[in-house]
């Protein structure tokens, strides 16, 4: 069977849970799944169950000592001091029982997505439970334990030997994945994010371009705080098209963090749902142009789990399945079920009204500055030009 798109899901993806007050909340995954189901867009034959990544698979990117530490932490046997060496037990990544298995499932979900697409059953696949781009080879960081994107790319390189373009639209820099392939010319990384001057992790400057053989295969567009739709999309579209034309990937992996929205509490970007329609639409278009459709989408950040993330991720699926984002009303059944649990009023439409964006006094300056950055980035997409 060859289908258009696979939705990677099982309840095992929901176990990645630090504690009730932590901003990273995997309830987003079930909210998204139920939203597309309520919209009659997800059928059981499109759901593919994730497996748990094996230790050998995790070790494609992660240090064995780190995996061992996580297995101990998972059972509550890792001391506070041992944990800190690996970035575990901090405010950002506290330890929790079962954390190794829960994290290995998110990675397994991304590996399942890879196999589903590269073995030809589906053109596209999405694992909204993944996209944990801050994880390092032997250190947890920024809510991320295992870096499913980095493991998945190592896996593709080893098993399929394809050229991978990784595109990260999370508001935070995709540092873990970037550093993992910083010297690798077969993996091109592109991250558009709020400038690291204020925002975690602080890296992702336009002049981070890769080293050694990989020089020229890392791209960063660190846009200014309070950037709005138009300027965000101008940067994303132009850069993604140029980079794809330059690199000619065999497969595209996108990390679809949904924290650039003006409602997101952790970042200063000021986008609306407009960008979350265009982001997957362009990835879809370019995957067909260069990769015979091979496109794997992952989730990522996103801290307004009620109003923003489910719609943003559902649009990734809608684009995968139908070629275009959904319009009009959000299904009433979904609203009815979740409104009583939500502390905020859920949006009734797929699109946002433009009046949700506050007036940004320095809009013109911000747009101009982002334009300059884009020019700077494009210098490296075609060195011969």
């Amino acid at each position: 069977m060859t289908g258009k798109a696979a939705f990677i899901y099982s309840d095992a993806l929901l176990n990645y849970h630090f504690h009730p007050d932590h901003p990273f909340d995997q309830k987003r995954v079930i909210l998204t799944k139920e939203l597309v189901e309520a919209a009659n867009q997800l059928h059981p034959n499109e759901i593919v169950e994730p497996r748990m990544a094996t230790e050998n698979e995790l070790a494609l990117f992660h240090d064995r000592a780190y995996i061992e530490a996580l297995k101990k932490a998972s059972k509550g046997h890792l001391s506070e001091n041992e944990g800190l060496e690996f970035g575990l037990g901090t405010e950002d990544t506290p330890m929790f029982l079962g954390m190794h298995e829960a994290s290995a499932y998110l990675v397994g979900g991304s590996l399942t997505a890879v196999d589903t697409v590269l073995e030809g059953d589906f053109y596209h696949a999405v694992n909204v439970g993944g996209g944990l781009h801050h994880g390092f080879n032997r250190r947890a960081s920024g809510f991320c334990i295992y870096n499913d994107g980095a493991v998945a790319i190592k896996y593709i390189r080893k098993k399929y030997d394809l050229k991978v373009l990784y595109v990260d639209t999370d508001a935070h820099h995709g540092d873990g994945v970037q550093w993992a392939f910083y010297d690798d010319p077969n993996v091109c990384t592109f991250s558009i994010h709020e400038t690291g001057r204020y925002l975690f992790p602080g890296t992702g400057n336009v002049n981070e371009r890769g080293i050694k053989e990989g020089h020229g295969y890392a791209f960063n567009l660190p846009i200014d705080a309070f950037t709005e739709n138009e300027s965000f999309l101008q940067g994303y579209e132009t850069a993604f098209k140029e980079i794809a034309a330059f690199f000619k990937p065999d497969v595209i992996i996108t990390q679809n963090g949904a924290d650039a929205h003006c409602f997101d509490p952790l970042t200063h970007l000021c986008a609306t749902m407009d960008i979350y329609e265009r982001i997957p639409a362009l990835a879809h278009e370019l995957a067909h142009q260069y990769c015979n459709g091979k496109w794997i989408a992952l989730g990522g950040g996103g801290y307004d789990i009620w109003r923003v993330v489910p719609r943003a991720w559902a649009q990734v699926w809608n684009v995968m399945k139908t070629g275009k984002p959904a319009k009009g009303n959000i299904p009433v059944t979904w609203l009815k079920k979740w409104q009583e649990k939500s502390p905020v009023t859920l949006p009734a439409k797929w699109q946002d009204h433009s009046d949700i964006v506050p007036t940004i006094p320095r809009k013109a300056d911000i747009t101009e500055k982002n334009g300059k950055l884009l020019q700077n980035l494009l210098k490296y997409t075609n060195p011969i030009k």
Binding site: P23, T90, Y198, F200, G202, P265, P358
Partner: protein, 216 residues
């Protein structure tokens, strides 16, 4: 921080009677930009830069150029006397020398013996370490009255949220001398609890956190 903590101790040197050609080779081979010139007891007698050597080399555009210029002693083109620093100097102090004198490298001398080199690049690397931007973190700027006890007041708020401070910088507030700007980098992806606490305690935050709840 002291110079001895940041200086390079593997140093490429030449004697005053070495040829310019040798200097040229060393600069290229080791990808360095300065060579200290030392006598047989390792006292520094001069320094040459890649620029000095280039200026003294025949242009590649003249095919019949007189290559014998390259055989001249390096001492004929070296700069002397040399401004040197000491291993126990403060990095902050030598930054001034780099800035005021526009040098790109400074030899480190102890009891008249050359013991190390510090380049502009080492200096900038140290600055990056001091600002903490080499470590993953969130950046918060707080405008505070210029008065005793204010720093512990602010840090205790940050500590109250168990946020780990990577670096602290204190700047003068350019438009109002009654205030200072405290710059913190804290090791967390979620600085919101700290930001809320600082606002609630009456502190004024700087861009982009100066608008309270800017996004709602």
């Amino acid at each position: 921080m002291l110079v001895e903590e940041i200086m390079k101790t593997q140093i490429i040197t030449l004697s005053p009677t070495a040829s310019i050609a040798e200097a040229l080779q060393l600069l290229q081979k080791h990808r360095i930009r300065h060579i200290p010139i030392v006598n047989e007891t390792f006292n520094i007698v001069g320094i040459v830069s890649d620029r000095d050597v280039r200026d003294a080399s025949p242009s590649i555009f003249y095919r019949d150029a007189d290559k014998s210029e390259l055989e001249n002693d390096i001492q004929s083109i070296m700069s002397s006397p040399v401004v040197t620093i000491h291993p126990l100097d403060f990095v902050e102090e030598i930054a001034r020398i780099f800035y005021d004198e526009e040098f790109a490298a400074l030899p480190v001398v102890k009891e008249n013996i050359l013991v190390g080199m510090v380049t502009e690049k080492d200096m900038l690397d140290t600055l990056i370490q001091l600002t903490g931007t080499n470590v993953q973190g969130s950046h918060i700027e707080v405008k505070v009255p210029h008065q005793p006890g204010i720093l512990p007041e602010v840090t205790s708020i940050i500590g109250g949220r168990k946020a780990n401070i990577i670096s602290v910088l204190v700047y003068p507030c350019t438009d109002d001398p009654r205030f200072k700007i405290l710059v913190f980098r804290i090791q967390t992806m979620n600085p919101m609890p700290v930001i809320h606490d600082l606002r609630n305690a009456g502190f004024e935050l700087m861009w982009p956190n100066n608008i309270s709840e800017p996004k709602l």
